[in-house]
Symmetry: C2
Subunit: 498 residues, 2 copies
Amino acid sequence: MDLTIALEKLDELQKKMYAYGAANSALYLDSVTVAPKDTSEGRGVAMGILAGEEHKLFASPETGELLDCLESNRDKLDARQARQTELLRRSYTQLSRIPADEYMEYAMLTNEASDVWHRAKEQNDFELFRPVLEKLVAFNRKFAGYYDSTKAPYDALLNEYERGMTMEKLDAFFAALREKIVPVIRAVGEKPQIDDGFLHKHYPVEIQRKFSDYLMEVMGLDRAHCGIGETEHPFTLNFNSQDVRITTHYVEDSLAESMYSVVHEGGHALYERGVDPQNDYTVLAGGVSMGIHESQSRFYENLIGRSRPFVHAIFPRIRAFFPEQLKDVDAEMFYRAVNKAQPSLIRTEADELTYSLHIMVRYEIEKQLIGGTLAVGDIPAEWNRLYKEYLGIDVPDDKRGCLQDSHWSGGSFGYFPSYALGSAYGAQMLRNMEKDVDVWGSVGKGDLSPVTAWLREKVHQYGSLLEPAQIVENACGVFDPTVYTDYLTEKYSELYGL
Amino acid sequence: MDLTIALEKLDELQKKMYAYGAANSALYLDSVTVAPKDTSEGRGVAMGILAGEEHKLFASPETGELLDCLESNRDKLDARQARQTELLRRSYTQLSRIPADEYMEYAMLTNEASDVWHRAKEQNDFELFRPVLEKLVAFNRKFAGYYDSTKAPYDALLNEYERGMTMEKLDAFFAALREKIVPVIRAVGEKPQIDDGFLHKHYPVEIQRKFSDYLMEVMGLDRAHCGIGETEHPFTLNFNSQDVRITTHYVEDSLAESMYSVVHEGGHALYERGVDPQNDYTVLAGGVSMGIHESQSRFYENLIGRSRPFVHAIFPRIRAFFPEQLKDVDAEMFYRAVNKAQPSLIRTEADELTYSLHIMVRYEIEKQLIGGTLAVGDIPAEWNRLYKEYLGIDVPDDKRGCLQDSHWSGGSFGYFPSYALGSAYGAQMLRNMEKDVDVWGSVGKGDLSPVTAWLREKVHQYGSLLEPAQIVENACGVFDPTVYTDYLTEKYSELYGL
């Protein structure tokens, strides 16, 4: 094949993959935001077929030939083309090992599972979810073998979310975290608790919606290219760098819930919006890994969003939205309330300090599930045991226990560690950023643009052009989780006077 | 090809077409309800590619062979399979005449046009819309030739929306309408006008949303299978019989606008929901023609929704939603207000009596545009001239003139007559229904179920299994527009005491 033709075909293939991705995203976005309740069947049929078509298109001998041709011309490719070829080869090798019928079946299963899980959670009925979760685990154990049969299954899955990540590395990482964080949590527990009662007054959804608009504005999210929707479990979705959507979930008696959800998802969105548009419609579009993605979302949510300078800067505006509810509250009280640390049941509502322990519970369970040493039916008991052991609390029911997260219903096993890794990456990024930019001077004035500009330069612009490890090196230097634990220790020592 | 295999392939082909249709619908629905403003480019790329893939799939030699095989086994096919083959052959013949690149280009053009038209309307700037409208007209003139080169281009397009419809038939139909309706309009104009001021008080959107929920309930629309969204120009979209969406547009100073939009779109939705689910994922799914579709929507909107028994039945509930705004209003005043007849500028806000004249304006313009005797640049002048001639009013600007409708931006030329035809079909259906069912006894109690049951039996259940003409025969008998003009004459004579 002539290289000029091959390059055209490369472009065309990626555009088609983008189109199938956009179709899937639109169907998914609809399903979790506005679709009527009992409509998953027909959507599942469509998503299954489209997945099959995409699989047929991509995992075809023609793609193999195209990649062969590009690889044999590697020295003539520019950096983007070379990286596209590399990423496509990686997916091709993987995907062509998954038989098309299994791929389609899996696409339909995850659509069904999402529905079943919603109902199971609503009805607090793990047994309802169990059969489909069993199928999802079985598929993922099988897929792990397709991905890399030389690795332990869970390592093969971890590698999907964060290339090069292994249980060995994570075990060490989490052990270090536990060793440093657990004593701080204990010490905090012995101090008088912070009063956050005012965060749980009545906050009408209508005004919270306007407050979200304001938060997006502060974050510098251009509303002509970034929408906001409402869903049960917030997420960010990107069609391309010019079309990104965040979602949130309003709770009338909890101001912080949607507030920090918007800032978290806004962090994801800024990443997607900051990717060089040259990468659109190619495999280089979008964030490079879940760990890097969570480093951005949690950066805005916690390192910036829960910082004293940020809270003090925007508090007058917050009070303008909710004058009645916050009439006896000042900026410092608000700052302390949104940083109240306390072992709790729900991951997404957890404070910055105890958050990683929630992740560790899930990590331990996934390790065993995918390793084959834990049966799906035993998840609830194991979940409750680990919450008792790690966080010292009793789980009253599965709804607030092992049914709380959407990840497994979406087929994501190996995603959770990304949250903790991302948090740790973020702390290192902050320390490096502080060397280059007057972070707190700007944030204290409610101006996040220098922060975003730094992240755009070090992280966002590349999309998937660089490996996650290169991004980490770029923005963090050598990975060192003690920067994160030091950050937490310092912050919470000051807050609680330890 | 073995017939068993052919029937499997028939099934598979239709499921794939359904899947591409669902993808397109999800992208479209998103684009006009929640998508951020400046995101059409990426969506256009995706929609163009998906259209191209669908075209490649369908307009392939394999489809031709499959249809040949099915046709040569026609005596062994059941009624559904035979009709599927017939409809697929029709589309195949058409589509395989449109080159794939033109088909894709057109898909991208309509996506772009929608965006441009929105802006042009917003800015009251026809010149902004002109270049893309010119392209759309040129495409449709070309497509008309592909569809049926033996017909006049506009006849070929009309045939797409209502099989067998021609300019000759429509000219006669509209002439009959004008002859009967114009004198009634004139007589009404000489009478004192109805006071509908209370419909234009302040009606908060939040409460209008709850009112929509109530209206959908009255109509018997199951919310687990029928959603409601908000958009500029309301429409109904069906993914399948179990997943239908209506949309509406809330105007804070006009209660009737969204109210009758919901009832109109609800009529479309009841049709889609009533199609035998056996037809899902096949070409038999969904309403058979735009004329029949509009007969259903306008049936609920006008013949039922604007009838005295219906308005009197639901008025106590309407007043419960808006007690302040309607405190001095009674059911009869409300009935009269929503039936106020007056020549006006905006089609979608037009009353039942003058509505057809709005359609005639569009029909005349389309006839000339597609016929090649009117340049796109001359539309505004011709529009304004016809509004003066037919409705006796001056059009102040293009925003409220030729830029008001979305149809042309979506590439629909030949759709408009369906509204008038549908209204006429509906009047005949009503007269026949009255023979079988105690229509007004039920409607007067707010119970529409016997009405819907009758329509389901005569119209809805078939989906596209029967030709539009067969449905008309089923439900109307011999088409006779005087039933419609008699209905209007009678209703407005009573209302205005002519």
